[in-house]
Amino acid sequence: MSDTRLRSPLGRVMGLGSAKEGVAHWWAQRVTAVAMIPLLLWFVIALIGLTGAGRAAVVAWLHAPVPAIATVLMLIAAFYHMALGIQVVVEDYVHTEWLKISVLLLNKFVAFALAAAGIFAVLRIAFQS
């Protein structure tokens, strides 16, 4: 019984307790946050440089390997961070179970779809000959 001391008999019989996920969500939010500090600063500076420059300049910029890779990394970190952040907001404010599950699913789907679309756009420009 030593491993169940902190759990109530009801909680034990219902299988409640640790979801064995620990701090994964919290940690991923921080990892993506730290990753985005340099990536976003770099991206904003790049966008400022491209202000009013037109499509040819944007295409030439993303055609180079480093901007293309950095932009893809930025998109991955941003949409991962976004999905985690919105999930917490939904879990805090939506208490109707079916609605909460639906919005959480939608959140994941939209985040993945936007990430895929953004990465596709960057790669399409990068691989254009």
Binding site: I48, G52, G85, A121
Partner: protein, 129 residues
């Protein structure tokens, strides 16, 4: 399962708004605003990857007054979320919890995010000529 009627803590309107609480909810609000902004970022990338016509439509939107107003809002949201996010990372490291320090870092985030927004926009207008 039956709901147990437990005493509740007072709701939001009971408390006096403070810098710390305002910045806390602003972190969520700017996070959600940035999530909406990612849709337009992906649109811009897809337009650049597609054609001159598609990019022209996106550019026309960004150059309109509503486009500029939204971009200004998103610029500040980005810098606020970035600065306040760093503030959170410092807290995660277990530092900066003294009341005076929390207020000092809070005002630094407010002033810093506004300053960075102004710098970015002035730089963009200089680049554009």
């Amino acid at each position: 399962m039956s709901q147990i009627q437990r005493p509740l803590s007072p709701h939001l309107q009971i408390y006096k708004p403070q810098l710390t609480s305002i910045l806390s909810i602003s972190h969520r609000a700017t996070g959600l605003a940035l999530a909406v902004g990612t849709i337009l970022l992906v649109w811009w990338l897809l337009a650049a990857a597609t054609s001159a016509d598609a990019f022209g439509v996106a550019e026309a939107f960004w150059h309109s007054w509503i486009g500029r107003l939204l971009l200004l809002g998103w610029t500040w949201s980005l810098f606020f979320h970035l600065c306040n996010g760093v503030r959170h990372l410092v807290w995660d490291a277990g530092r900066g919890f003294k009341l005076k320090t929390a207020y000092a870092s809070g005002w630094t985030v407010v002033v810093g995010s506004v300053a960075l927004t102004l710098i970015a926009w002035i730089a963009a207008y200089v680049v554009r000529g």
